[in-house]
Symmetry: C2
Subunit: 437 residues, 2 copies
């Protein structure tokens, strides 16, 4: 007789207790709460793959710089709303050395996490031009960015990129852009949740069309340099982080410290606004926000009104991390490459036991091993997979609320310890045996 790893009635009871109608479509937050309850009830530790949070200690460089800034007394002084000078300069330098892109320090503006960065950007692009009222998401993507649109009451369109990789992306994008209502295109690269990385050809298409249709590309680089197929820690030398910035002047890059520096708690990221865009004047934007340039609208109007700047000491932390990385004395890529190494092993365990990777390739190349991967299992929808894995002590989120059309789940490697790999293998084997029966 086939058995689950945990007593099904214990799991079901917890689901009822938390009033979760369908665990398969639960939010990350609901799943976290659910697994906490089951762990407490059963005393068994889950293989927790539901949270996309750092699993390493925070950057020592950042922590020490931040402590030093606090000792200097920066806590008393309001930070300049467009960022402290050292951070602006070091952000510009970091982007030049690791992405080979020139963004002036003026355009490197800190935000309270990339969450605030995209919020501010959505607000600005939504008011650039009265005729352009819709933002286009290249999905799958980070669900909270759509929640931001909902909170702001702005419109968006989206499509799953799965069937539109490579040259096929052009016609698909053009089918939206040619309608004339799109103000911006947003995607993450490497991608949350699928870890696909857009190719240079795809970025070129996006950049070319952004220029042609005069829309802004919002490129979320939360996982900067984390396509571990290449070693990007070569300051000032190739290979460089892939970016649309090489193919258009209409861009904002979002560089978060959360994953690359394991610095999520301090909520300090950079929006890098292209030199051309920063200075550009949009009549509708000027009227809406009583300001001159795009850069002015973002800094002196939107960011000022949102939080009046970013935590002062955290700005010095981020500046120090950028500086140390650029100086060649802080190989942040090596510190986080542990994620890729774990992904490789975990993917193998799943693949050996009946699972498959849903978003498997970047065109003809297998996707990289990184922070996330996607999984499917024959005959199960993504929701069923999430739900049934819970009986086997494994937690993950479904792909459906990320804008994916495919059936599957997102697995995050960060909070799975290497010492759990034995348990993982045992549970996955049991799962496969159960469902093959």
């Amino acid at each position: 007789m086939n058995v689950t790893f945990l007593p099904a009635e214990t799991v079901d009871k917890a689901i009822r207790q938390l009033r979760i109608p369908d665990p398969g479509s639960a939010t990350i937050r609901e799943l976290v709460a659910l697994v906490n309850v089951i762990e407490e009830e059963t005393g068994e530790k889950y293989i927790r793959m539901e949270m996309g949070v750092p699993g390493l200690v925070p950057s020592q460089v950042g922590t020490e710089a931040e402590i030093e800034a606090l000792r200097r007394g920066v806590a008393a002084d309001y930070p300049m709303v467009d960022g402290v000078k050292m951070l602006k300069n070091e952000a510009s330098r970091f982007i030049r050395l690791f992405a080979d892109v020139d963004v002036s320090p003026d355009g490197c503006v800190p935000s309270v996490g990339s969450m605030q960065g995209t919020y501010a950007a959505f607000m600005a692009v939504g008011n650039l031009n009265r005729k352009k009222d819709t933002t286009l998401f290249i999905d799958p993507g980070f669900p909270v960015q759509k929640q931001q649109m909902m909170v702001m009451g702005q419109k968006y369109a989206s499509f799953d990129v799965f069937n539109f990789r490579g040259a096929a992306l052009e016609a698909k994008l053009e089918s939206y852009l040619s309608q004339g209502n799109i103000n911006a295109i947003i995607y993450s690269n490497p991608n949350n949740p699928t870890w696909i990385c857009l190719t240079e050809e795809e970025l070129q298409i996006i950049g070319r069309l952004a220029t042609k249709y005069d829309v802004i590309v919002l490129e979320d680089l939360a996982y900067f340099a984390m396509d571990f197929r290449k070693d990007f820690y070569t300051p000032g030398k190739p290979p460089y982080q892939a970016t649309v910035a090489r193919y258009t002047d209409n861009y904002i890059l979002f560089i978060s410290s959360s994953k690359i520096f394991s610095y999520a708690g301090q909520r300090c990221s950079i929006m890098a606004i292209s030199n051309q865009l920063f200075k550009r004047e949009y009549p509708d934007l000027q009227e809406r926000f009583h300001c001159f340039t795009f850069g002015n609208a973002i800094t002196q109007r939107i960011l000022y009104a949102l939080t009046s700047g970013v935590c002062h000491s955290a700005q010095y932390a981020l500046a120090a991390m950028f500086k140390a990385a650029s100086d060649g004395v802080y190989n942040f890529v090596q510190e986080i490459s542990e994620y890729g190494e774990k992904a490789k092993i975990m993917k193998r365990i799943f693949l050996d036991n009946g699972f498959h990777i849903v978003y498997e390739n970047d065109l003809d190349e297998p996707i990289a091993d990184g922070f996330y991967f996607t999984l499917g299992y024959p005959g199960l929808t993504g929701a069923e997979l999430v739900h049934n894995l819970l009986y086997f002590g494994i937690s993950a989120i479904g792909l459906k609320n990320t804008g994916s059309d495919r059936e599957g789940i997102r697995a995050c490697v960060s909070h799975v310890g290497r010492e759990q790999f034995g348990d993982l293998e045992e549970r996955v084997k049991l799962f496969d045996k159960y469902f093959k029966a």
Copy 2:
């Protein structure tokens, strides 16, 4: 022959150089830049009263607690969006001991400065009820809160409270509330820019009408316990900070760490949402934000979408400052009472030389000595006064863009050193001599 303190041509040249059409109606930011230029040009140090920023060192209690949190590695972990437990508990306790009001820890939610607090609150109250599309400002007030309304594209109404103190406030407020379109009333107490403090009678009127017309009171307590006419540092004993919370259940209090703890740089404040309001369900709000309660809309929808929480280490700093104050070992009021002592001397210097206090009384009592005061001079408008004081090495902002109907300026004491009082007296005498002539 009468002379100005600085060569008029130098001042005028700087005004032209910065392309300021009228210094009398310039923003704080423009004035800061202008004075920087003139100081550099002339080598003379201004009496700088234009900025409303702390002038003391940051709280040592907060700084040490923040450093300790960083050493524990909190920088890696996303903070809970509704705040770390210790901060919520200590905020609730602080409010109980210093304002004699019971707000559950659930309703004590950190925000990225009270700037984010009021932004989130404006967004929530603007969507409570389709019929209530306007927020009422009891002016004079903080100009950036109106900029927040502009950025959000929400409506507001306002009136200058000068002629509606005491019992007269009731009819004035009712003339707005009875129209049925007001969702909330906002004011600061003690007041920026005038330092008037609403009396218990006035707070009672506001509270009673808020209940009667079902509107929410947004009480900005950025200057908590800074009405230095009383000593509020008596944890758990009267006198308590005056607050509308005693007179209605429809309130949010905004408690900033910027001034009371000289902790402006770290952008961490508390929104204290009343227990009733936190749990209340508004059908229009639910539909707009896909959530259940008011508290849920603020935390899981709005604050989550804005910044996904507040700087982790700064939350521990604020918790520690609240705790030390409540424990009776951190007399924050004494630390900041220096502002009141300086105000007393500075007001005397101006009053002895032809100036008057514009907002002079709280009904029959002279206003307190505190962070700000207002000044007028016979025969000069507020704009003329700002402009002409520049020739005498004194900078301040006009009252006009604070929603005041009166002619005058706001003077902030925080960045004037006691060693400058001699200079101040000399320049004010020269000014008076010049204009009396």
